[in-house]
């Protein structure tokens, strides 16, 4: 099937885990969802509602039991091996709850990690510098993560997520480990930078204020989307 350029389309997306008694634990139930390119979406819901699983499926870290995911022309769910790795590097950016920076690399080297993976680009260094500048860390470019504050680390992680100009930025509770003020400024930065690049944002959060800053909020409950406007 074809979709408009860059749109994220989920069709009857289901994820279930087999249980020892022969049954299955269904985490996501036939989810249908379309996110136009460039939209910012917050995913909220109680713990265990399937938020992270949804994000992992969209991020190709996990395979759905059934259903499909399309990003633009690409059927994401059918990618394997080399093309899957290339897709991750080219189209996706991740910001995790924990910054997941590599301790043995400096800030700028961490930002460059995704460019190491497949194709070495000549302008990657300049771009990494510009991104660090943009998140306000040009002074700290040669610092190791252990020398950075929590907020600074997460800003480096945002720069890393954006280094390859992804179409889709996935954030799993990106401010979960930060205090409220720092968290708010990190979210501002994340949304700003994503908007600069026209990237679609899918962000899992527990914070209603942060969710409100996205254009749309999806509520998950027991693996199903709660219709818009329904009581939370």
């Amino acid at each position: 099937m074809t979709t408009p350029a860059g749109d994220l389309v989920l069709q009857r997306l289901t994820k279930a885990y087999p249980l020892p008694d022969g049954g299955a634990l269904t985490i996501l139930h036939e989810l249908d969802l379309t996110v136009p390119a460039g939209e910012t979406v917050a995913i909220v819901g109680p713990s265990g509602s399937g938020k992270s699983t949804l994000l992992n499926l969209i991020g190709t870290l996990d395979q759905p039991t059934s259903g499909t995911i399309h990003l633009g022309q690409t059927e994401v769910t059918s990618l394997r091996g080399q093309s899957l790795a290339e897709f991750r590097a080219r189209a996706l950016g991740f910001v995790f709850q924990d910054h997941h920076l590599l301790p043995q690399l400096t800030a700028i080297e961490n930002v460059l990690v995704p460019t190491l993976a497949s194709r070495p680009t000549a302008d990657a260094n300049a771009r990494a510098s510009a991104l660090l500048d943009r998140v306000g860390l040009s002074e700290r470019r040669d610092s190791f993560p252990s020398r950075l504050s929590g907020g600074e680390r997460q800003r480096v992680a945002i720069a890393r997520a954006l280094i390859n100009r992804p179409q889709l930025l996935l954030a799993d509770e990106p401010t979960g480990n930060l205090d409220l003020d720092t968290g708010a400024s990190v979210i501002s930065l994340l949304l700003e930078l994503a908007a600069d690049q026209g990237a679609t944002v899918m962000m899992v959060t527990h914070n209603p204020e942060q969710a409100a800053r996205c254009q749309r909020t999806l509520r998950l409950r027991e693996g199903r989307l709660v219709p818009q406007g329904a009581p939370a």
Partner: protein, 402 residues
């Protein structure tokens, strides 16, 4: 990821864990150093032995009486078939012969004042010193007239001088051999502990020893020196033909003597040295393998520790191959740096050992190249499994890993 980047990243993570990296490398360092040292000392000893043998003369042949055999059955156990006349004829008729020393040997009691020792007495001709390359340091060797006259004169090997005279001048003194006084007319330089070393022997005229001391007229052996190394085979053939004729052996009958060549001895020594070096080298290689197990252990720890790093790399688009290469490069970098350090340590230590012990250490380029390559191979072999483990990780599980 290109190789240069990979090595840089690997180096950074090794530097990040300096102490651990060093301890991991230690196994390889010790293994490689052991290989280098063993081979260097082994080669040195081999060369020392060779040159010592060569100092004794490479052109030597030794004719020993052998039991006469018929169809493989020993006919006579006591062999008394080698006579002085045989030696005389060899000197006279075999072409290419430079010197002939008939030898008769027996264990005797030697006594100087209250010092008493059981020792090997050699009776021989004047050619002995020349044939055996025996250097007389003090006094002189006996001459033909003393041999013909069955004179009781003798020359002492260096060890005997030490044992009986504690190194003091012995010339002109008398030593009692089986009760008979012998005048000491010369002492010899040290030859070294080698094949039939004359260091701990007393050498006296052939006739004196045969008729006055041991009471026998057959020889223990005849030592023959050829004019050159090329003549050795010709001389061997000549002696065989001559002795068969003199001993009246029929065609088809086995020789009642055997001829040993120094070159044969040289070869077997070389072979023994080579075997020894190989054996010790193999043991050293085992320690290198143990070093490899150390690398594997640490790489497994490292992979586990960096599970989340693997998850992150995969999430941002690293292929299996990239992860595999990353850890593999890391273990190869570990092992090759260990290899280089081991080579330096090995060279240093073999020089030190050589200086301390007076041995020769020969550091061969091939042992350096082989042990370096082997260290690299150890890195690949023992790094492969941990790297594979990392590459096969499930990214979600890896990211969640605490």
């Amino acid at each position: 990821m290109n190789l240069y980047e990979g090595i840089r990243v690997a180096l950074m993570s090794l530097v990040h864990n300096k102490m651990r990296s060093f301890l991991t490398m230690l196994g390889v360092i010790i293994g490689v150093a052991a290989v280098i040292i063993v081979v260097a000392i082994g080669q040195g000893l081999k060369k020392d032995t060779m040159s010592r043998i060569e100092r004794m003369g490479t052109n030597l042949l030794m004719v020993n009486p052998g039991p006469s055999r018929r169809g493989g059955v020993v006919q006579e156990m006591t062999v008394i078939n080698l006579k002085e006349e045989d030696a005389v004829e060899i000197a006279k008729t075999v072409p290419g012969v430079a010197g002939v020393a008939p030898e008769v040997r027996g264990r005797v009691q030697a006594k100087y004042r209250s010092r008493n020792t059981s020792i090997q007495l050699v009776g021989t001709s004047v050619d002995y010193a020349k044939v055996r390359n025996w250097k007389i340091t003090e006094g002189r060797f006996f001459d033909d007239s003393e041999v013909r006259g069955r004179k009781r004169v003798c020359v002492l090997g260096s060890q005997v001088v030490t044992d009986l005279f504690y190194g003091k001048p012995a010339i002109g003194e008398f030593v009692r051999i089986n009760g008979m006084p012998f005048e000491i007319i010369g002492t010899a330089a040290e030859v070294g502990a080698m094949w039939g070393s004359p260091d701990s022997t007393i050498v006296a005229p052939l006739t004196t020893v045969m008729y006055r001391v041991l009471g026998q007229d057959n020889l223990s052996s005849i030592t023959v020196s050829a004019r050159s190394a090329e003549d050795v085979d010709k001389v061997e053939k000549g002696i065989e033909v001559l002795l068969r004729k003199r001993h009246r052996l029929r065609p088809g009958q086995d020789n009642d003597f055997n001829i040993m060549k120094q070159s044969m001895f040289l070869e077997s020594m070389a072979e023994a040295g080579e075997t020894m070096t190989r054996l010790l080298g193999a043991i050293a290689l085992v320690s290198l393998l143990v070093g490899g197990v150390g690398i594997m252990n640490i790489m497994l720890v490292s992979v586990t520790e960096r599970t989340r790093e693997v998850g992150v790399r995969k999430a941002v688009g690293a292929r299996k191959l990239d992860i595999l290469a990353q850890f593999l490069v890391e273990s190869v970098v570990l092992s090759t740096i260990g290899g280089v350090l081991g080579i330096l340590v090995g060279i240093g230590f073999s020089q030190l050992i050589a200086r301390q012990s007076g041995w020769t250490a020969i550091i061969s380029v091939s042992s350096i190249i082989y042990s370096f390559l082997f260290a690299g191979a150890v890195g690949i072999f023992f790094g492969l499994w941990p790297a594979k483990k990392a590459a096969d990780m499930d990214p979600i599980a890896a990211l969640r890993y605490e």
